[in-house]
Symmetry: C2
Subunit: 227 residues, 2 copies
């Protein structure tokens, strides 16, 4: 389970300080499929950075799978992220001048997976997002939607327990969007926890619960019946 | 008017060559508002790069406002772009470590607009996209939707005759999307030609004409009645 208590995140200081997250209490049980919606600048990506242990909160506590993340040093946080969490970032964050395949292999390399198995798993992940014929392309040689799908492949290749996806279908047409949503349904059915930030109602409709943010707070938390 | 005849764009060579645009004939009259839709990888961004003179076609001709772009050297193409075209790129292409204001001032600086007027115009453009209170933030200190809106402000600050926007609302919630679409309607009412790449039907619905691409070709060209 993910447990946030009294979480705030402030950027900057004094007059120009920005309260990106302004007090969030939240429990996400293991295996849930949650969507996060809200206005531009309302704190969604910042909240995801806290959930993914990429950013330490300014105040409050975050327990992930029972562990108090505030008590872990950087090295243990890095291990935790690599072993348990998959990220799809809002701007993809692919490594330039590095092939799609090498980009997807990276989290496996960090986890100590060996060359041959690593390549096979990366190839399989790219296959799952329909990019088998683009494995040797560099990010600059891929369309926007293809780059986004490489980012998705990289997020799932380690078979993470928690998938955090920030606007994962933002650059995709309806056909590719549907393929990605079915992939997420499949991963959720395998027991993985999924948190998706999205501004599209049709994407949010696929999750069992929708959180809505405004000015750094969660003002609505709605569970769907029968999911 | 924009006139494309027999336009192709091929990346790479031999076995691995990719026909990103595979034969497009198209006329867009001055003042039109056109949407371009199609599957991921179907050639939309590549087509936009040709329309914006950022990429020379592999074959075919492109006349922009009566000028044969194939006959212009790099310096004249750069001038043409700066004076007549505004770009919103799919991945924003903001300059890191440079404030939002400075990013928006850049096309004006290239056009030789002086410091005080330049700052005022850049400030006004950021105001139009609701970012008056973020002018001194760096791209890394802005949310995804805020970065996208800075890119839009930069695209309109030179008051271009042609606006080319690649997924300009991809990172925006419905409220910000509506504001941007109204801004585009306003620009179009001022007589500017607008070409928007989008995968969202609600965005395409705001244009007078929708082109649909697949495998590098335009397979459908539909004008709306009464627009
Ligand atoms: N520099 C390049 N080298 C090789 N192939 C390229 C290059 N740039 C683009 N491509 C390929 O050309 C095709 C069309 O790309 P383009 O970016 O125009 O697609 P798109 O319609 O904009 O897609 P999306 O909706 O995903 O943004 C893609 O299959 C892409 O892999
Ligand atoms: N490093 C930073 N320094 C200063 N302010 C920041 C920084 N990072 C984010 N912000 C501010 O925090 C607020 C929340 O940002 P966040 O990225 O979480 O929003 P978001 O909900 O993801 O928005 P979007 O839908 O546009 O992606 C924004 O107003 C942004 O300007
Ligand atoms: Mg965001
Ligand atoms: Mg594109």
């Amino acid at each position: 389970a993910l447990e946030l208590r009294g979480i705030t995140k402030v950027y900057g200081q004094g007059e120009t300080a920005v309260q990106a997250v302004a007090g969030v209490d939240l429990v996400v049980e293991h295996g849930e499929h949650v969507a996060v919606m809200g206005a531009s600048g309302s704190g969604k990506s910042t909240l995801m950075h806290v959930l993914g242990c990429l950013d330490t909160p300014t105040s409050g506590t975050y327990r992930l799978g029972g562990l108090d993340t505030g008590a872990l040093d950087d090295r243990r946080l890095a291990l935790l992220r690599n072993r348990r969490i998959g990220f799809v970032f809002q701007s993809f964050n692919l490594i330039p001048r590095t092939t799609a395949l090498a980009n997807v292999e990276l989290p496996l390399a960090y986890a100590g997976v060996r060359g041959k198995v690593r390549k096979e798993r990366a190839q399989a992940a790219l296959d799952r997002v329909g990019l088998a014929n683009r494995v040797d392309h560099l990010p600059s040689q891929l369309s926007g939607g293809q780059q986004q799908r490489v980012a998705i492949a990289r997020a799932i290749v380690t078979e993470p327990l928690l998938l955090l996806a920030d606007e994962p279908t933002g650059a995709l047409d309806s056909h590719s969007t549907e393929e990605v949503l079915q992939l997420f349904d499949q991963l959720n059915a395998e027991g993985r926890t999924i948190v998706v930030i999205t501004h599209e109602e049709e994407v949010a409709a696929r999750s069992g619960r929708v959180l809505r943010m405004f000015d750094g707070k969660v003002y609505q938390d709605e569970r769907r019946v029968g999911r």
